[in-house]
Amino acid sequence: MSPALPLLLALALGLIAWLAARSRAWTFRTEARKGGSQLHSLPNYHAWYVALWAIVPAILFAAIWTSISPGLVLGKVLTEPAAASLPAFGIEREAILSEAQSIAKGTMAVGFRKESAALVEPFRAAIGQYGTIGLVVTLILGLAGGAFGFLKLRPDFTARTRVERFVMLGLLAASLVAVFTTLGILAALIYETFLFFRFVSPMDFLFGTHWGPDPMVSPESIRTDAYGALPLFWGTVFIGAIIAMLVAIPLGLMSAIYLTQYASENVRKWMKPLLEILAGVPTVVYGYFAALTVAPWIRDFGTAIGISSASSESALAAGVVMGIMIIPFVSSMADDSITAVPQAMRDGSLAMGATTSETIKKVLIPAALPGIVAGVMLAVSRAIGETMIVVMAAGATARLTANPFESMTTVTFQIVAMLTGEGSFDHPSTLSAFALGMVLFLVTLTLNFIALRVVKRFREAYE
């Protein structure tokens, strides 16, 4: 039986309820017209009121039932005599059960284990039984709800008010999704980080200088000094906040200045979308570009100027490409801040005989500085959270070095590496990814929070 069946049943009941209630409301309306009075609500609202009563309880039940019925089915099967011969614990037992279940559901034709064959029939019986129960209860709930709503219909019934109250409830629920997502992120990160800190102390993690988790070592005998994340933090800052910004700030700022102050309307109309295309290219494409094209150039350049340790996975390659990706972001933030500076300040400077560039350097930029700084902070927060470019171009070795030609690793790289590696889910190496994620989340949150406040205050200052 398909899990969609109760859903379809509920919707079908809802349609019937809608049609029935609508025709009932129409008869009210005809009668009321004869008597010279009016309905409180339009017939459609009566229809929706009854339909909601028919659908909502039934669907809620169907959703709950789909999530609990597999457990009930399993419990029922385990009480059968055929289940007595199952191995008590472990992977084998799970495998036999899931195989029997797949055969019973028809998703698998033949089993590989002989034990599963005996369990197919009990499974099929239990699934059929609980499926029927679910369907019948859904039907009863739908009918009962529909009947309850239908009996309330009257010419002066306030159907519209009630339907609208339900709509408002839906709107509120939709906006709470964002809050629950934030809470979910926080809860998941805090919980897993807490588990991680049972193995490795926060001090060792935050200030240790050696990073080399081994997912193969048993969790009890791990070396806690292999979980020092300082090299990762340094790599992240070096690539995202230093190299990338050295590329993005001058280029982004000068682009914004040229486009707002010098370029003709036509040039501006064409160049701005062009810059935005640069922001729309997926990061995996930048990563590929960095790894395939930019990194070998930088390695050759490094070797040419006599740096023997130049690697084909270098911090410089990742940082430069990341900076290029960030240019449009910095440029649009700077654009906004510069345009927000009052025209009078610019006119005043020009009237005193300053050239355009002097006006920009001495008046516009100082006045727009808070906005520009906030934009740079947002750009940094985006750069340090960027994953694919560093995964593809920066390398895996954790190093505390300031040589940009060497390979260097970052927080996001290690999150990916730890979670796609071989470690089991409760191993410290896997959990460390969540601790790194926690640090990343807090840092980006702080940067965004401060930046948004600065921008807000800056806007208020000129309005």
Binding site: A178, M254, F289
Partner: protein, 407 residues
């Protein structure tokens, strides 16, 4: 006086330099974009092609004991396999190309001959000119790599006109494979589409409803402030954090759906939703209050006002924001790596719950391969992804220009 003139000259020179630097900065960005696209396209041209061997198969003489009626049956490929089509193809290849070259035809390539026969059973009679993919070794040699003997073979076959680099339409209809000659992107593309459907189905209604609530009904209190703060923060959280959430929450609730588009779509929906809320709020804010006043004045309720009048007027703006958010989700890789959509999936996913991968992840997986053939295939996949993004963004711009009203 002279001094002042010299000073002025210096200042004007500085002015010109400053302007030139600004122009250079803009041009640099344009140049990088052009170079990136040129680089990808020039690599991608080879990726839409594959190396094939051309030779005739004499079907009548091949001794293929299969009845044309069987080819219209339910399992025609099985019938052909049972009748020994693979051997017939190998035999014909040996006859016209020699032993060594026949051994370099890709395993399973006979199925392409099979497809041709099934589409037109008449071809069982007479001679069939086929063009079948070669092994990765020979393809590598044809590009100029590989062992010397393989290169000699490739040179010889090329000179005879039997080894050709032909356009590979199958690239758009196959799934992942182990060698670059046999891969295709349809599997990943279908995975992307399924994932995007889930994302759209979840993020669009939730995002629009939340935007309506916050902009039209929400009372100004601490609760509302919390909602606004968390939406603004979610819009700025790095995407990889959403991957951690999907891993820790969704995969704990649905452990059987690892790598499934369902979970991927849910994760990306949480990421896309704030984008839709923010653009939706701006679009709703842009609808002038006079519309609301007019509706309320003729007796509409507040819900009717919004759903009958404000929302339809704001829809183009909301759709533009939605498409831009979806385009971003389509290019997203990191969160999907976290929830296991990086498995090797050799057949296109057949539903929302079967293991799948998506186009950006496929690009990432192929980028790890060093084979020159994979470099070309990866670039070709990137071009396909960029084309999709271009179409989506073009649609968004069209909607904005065509339907958005300036009040």
């Amino acid at each position: 006086m002279n001094n002042a003139a010299a000073h002025l000259k210096k200042r004007y020179a500085a002015e010109r330099r400053f302007k030139a630097v600004g122009l250079l900065a803009v041009l640099f960005s344009g140049f990088v974009l052009a170079f990136l696209l040129f680089n990808m396209t020039s690599n991608a041209i080879g990726g839409f092609k594959r190396w094939e061997l051309r030779f005739p198969i004499d079907m009548a003489a091949g001794g293929l004991t299969v009845d044309p009626s069987q080819l219209q049956g339910p399992e025609p490929m099985q019938a052909l396999q049972g009748a020994g089509l693979a051997d017939v193809v190998t035999f014909a290849a040996t006859q016209s190309l020699g032993d060594q070259a026949a051994g370099e035809i890709l395993d399973g390539a006979w199925r392409e001959v099979g497809d041709e026969l099934i589409s037109d059973p008449q071809r069982l009679q007479g001679t069939l000119e086929v063009s079948l993919p070669v092994s990765d070794d020979l393809a590598g040699a044809a590009r100029g790599g590989g062992t010397p003997e393989m290169q000699a073979l490739a040179e010889k076959l090329k000179a005879e006109g039997k080894l050709v680099n032909a356009i590979d339409w199958g690239f758009l209809s196959r799934a992942d494979a182990t060698g670059p000659q046999a891969v295709g992107i349809w599997g990943a593309l279908k995975g992307s589409m399924l994932t995007m459907l889930i994302t759209l189905a979840l993020a669009f209604p939730i995002g629009v409803l939340a935007a309506v609530y916050l902009e039209e009904y929400a009372p100004k209190n601490r609760w509302t402030e919390w909602i606004e703060v968390s939406i603004n923060n979610l819009a700025a959280v790095p995407s990889i954090i959403f991957g951690l959430l999907g891993l820790a929450v969704f995969l704990t609730i649905f452990p059987n759906y690892r790598s499934a588009p369902l979970i991927g779509g849910m994760t990306l929906a949480l990421m896309t939703m704030p984008v839709i809320v923010i653009s939706g709020r701006n679009a709703i804010k842009a609808v002038p209050p006079s519309i609301r006043d007019a509706a309320l004045a003729v007796g509409a309720s507040r819900v009717q006002t919004v759903f009958h009048h404000v929302l339809p007027l704001a829809l183009p703006g909301i759709l533009t924001g939605t498409i831009i958010g979806m385009a971003r989700a389509l290019g997203e890789t990191a969160p999907l790596l976290m929830i296991g959509m990086r498995a090797f999936v050799a057949s296109p996913p057949d539903g929302f719950t079967s293991p799948a991968t998506v186009l950006p992840v496929q690009i990432f997986l192929w980028s790890d391969e060093i084979d020159r053939g994979f470099v070309e295939r990866t670039s070709a996949a990137i071009i396909v992804l960029l084309l999709f993004l271009l179409v989506m963004n073009g649609l968004a711009i069209y909607l904005r220009n065509r339907f958005e009203k300036r009040w």
